[in-house]
Symmetry: C2
Subunit: 337 residues, 2 copies
């Protein structure tokens, strides 16, 4: 059994009140007392019982982080970013994966009701909007990652999909590409819609007509990249100038198909991705870097601010960055990373 505050009292002869004051850095104690108490704390290896403290202060020093159980490679980095910011304030992380959409609602509700955490960070890829609205009722700071709630009101941290997709589209155009295909993600995802929107807008802005044949619908998986590319090759004679895949995974699938079809990248067709995963580095894929760790950091900062009732001024939208590699035919004008 760990030492309790009473053990410290016995060791020093002071009351629990005084020891507690020392623990919490109250100025109302003599230097001499403080010294003696500290010595005892040290000797006993005392640390305040977390449950007791949480019960009394109605504050757990925890942020709950809930992720969908997708095999999302970004997860680690986001969590690391959250941890980095939280640990600075000695706030710990309660992480949970939702196992199926049914249990997601239940899991979150329970955690809040049980007061296991002082704030909630949710990766809302799969959460329903009406449920999120309901969360707002609770007097608990909630920060969303990745997707804003339509009806608004809940703070969120995401990436600037539009500026990223715009930068890439413009880059491709600047490289001299005109007939550019865009591989979209599933329509129901926010990222997919935003990226497509920016692509369209940038094309229009540059006076380029959009060929509907060149908007391919994938689902952000590598397999879907394979599928759309195979289908296009089957049904068409000529290639577009460039293919802008909505994410790196699909770009990888496309890359594989092109290679086995004997199509060279970037000589025969330029290829671009989005996300800057490890994969992109290995394929030498020009892509948009998404600073996942920063997102986590920003989300945690936001949550911490809300916990302290500070007004939060942390960014809602984390900037992306164009990473030029060799897959678009650009002269190596940028470092590999």
């Amino acid at each position: 059994m760990s030492a309790t505050i009473r053990d410290v009292c016995r060791a020093t002869g002071f009351s629990t009140a005084t020891v507690s004051r020392v623990l919490n850095g109250s100025p109302l104690v003599t230097e001499k007392t403080r010294k003696r108490v500290h010595a005892a704390l040290e000797k006993l290896g005392y640390q305040p019982n977390h449950a007791a403290r949480a019960l009394k202060m109605n504050r757990t020093g925890m942020i709950a982080v809930v992720f969908p159980d997708l095999d999302n490679g970004f997860f680690t980095q986001i969590l690391r970013g959250i941890d980095e910011a939280a640990s600075e304030f000695s706030v710990h992380l309660l992480t949970a994966f939702t196992h199926g959409p049914l249990d997601e609602h239940e899991l979150i509700t329970r955690m809040v009701r049980e007061r296991r955490a002082d704030a909630l960070i949710l990766m809302n890829l799969t959460l329903k909007d009406d449920f999120l609205q309901q969360l707002k009722q609770w007097e608990l700071p909630i920060v969303l990652i990745d997707r804003p709630v339509k009806a608004g009101g809940l703070p969120f941290v995401g990436i600037d999909n539009r500026s990223g997709a715009t930068a890439m589209t413009q880059h491709l155009i600047n490289q001299g590409h005109r007939r550019i295909a865009f591989v979209s993600g599933p329509d129901r995802t926010f990222d997919a819609r935003e990226r497509l929107f920016a692509f369209r807008k940038t094309m229009r802005k540059n006076g380029l007509v959009m060929d509907p044949e060149l908007i391919w619908r994938g689902d952000f998986t590598e397999d879907s990249g394979v599928r759309v590319m195979e289908r296009y090759l089957r049904e068409h004679q000529s290639l577009p100038d460039a293919i802008f895949a909505g994410n790196d995974a699909m770009a990888a699938g496309i890359h594989a198909v092109l290679r086995s079809a004997g199509v060279r990248v970037p000589e025969d067709v330029a290829l671009a991705g989005f996300d800057d995963t490890d994969l992109a580095r290995h394929l030498n894929l020009t892509t948009i870097h998404v600073p996942m760790k920063l997102i986590g950091h920003a989300a945690a900062q936001h949550a911490l601010d809300l916990m302290e009732n500070r007004d939060s001024v942390h960014p809602q939208s984390v900037p992306t960055r164009l990473v030029v590699r060799t897959s678009c035919g650009a002269h190596r004008m940028s470092a590999r990373r």
Copy 2:
């Protein structure tokens, strides 16, 4: 504020004891009372305050999971495995990354002393053995992942490096390769030593002489794979028959060097890895699959058993599996995954 047990009392007219009995499924309550209490629980959305319960029962329903802050791609999967097993028992996860070796000791000590968790799962890549010995003093279940403590006594879950490396070595030999290079990881890591050991032993068993020139020292990073391969090419005229890299990352580095040197895989040299990361799939690399999720699952099971004072019979060593792709010249005798 969430509802408390007292709110439920007021709503039903029963005492806290009775409500508590219902909450904990005690048989000492009438069916009728149970019904009425349940109705009130439902209506109020009551969930027992976690801190109060933890304080009273001296049990948090939490497992603390501590990982070093390495960019370890396996992390997510291991954590997911842990979560899967733990959530089955409604046990939650307190995850923490250690920020530098200094704070590692402190972080773990504090968490234990504060009684934030009922058990501890540590990824002991960087932990010192004497610190781990010290942990044993505490009356808290601890499970290590990845590396056993030399002095023994602490339960751990890891992979069977030896059988994995043996299987791969034998596979290469069966393919007809005789001069096989092995790229080792850093000597201080357990995995590196084990894999090298099994490689040596299997070579010997097959009556093959080991050329010391063909034991290359990497450090498990992709860059180190690049380095050792470049150096070998610089200093030697001929290639070995096969290269068995101690992990996929180094294999990827080697692959890149070979490609730019115009050396074909597997025609000119066979290449094998270890871990079965996404990378391996993309390089069509023959490798050893390491079931990370299973490791997490086993570790959590172990911890849960210890928490319940059950004798744990869960495996210490999770089996690996040879994944044959095209990089070793084998006829495609196995599915891609």
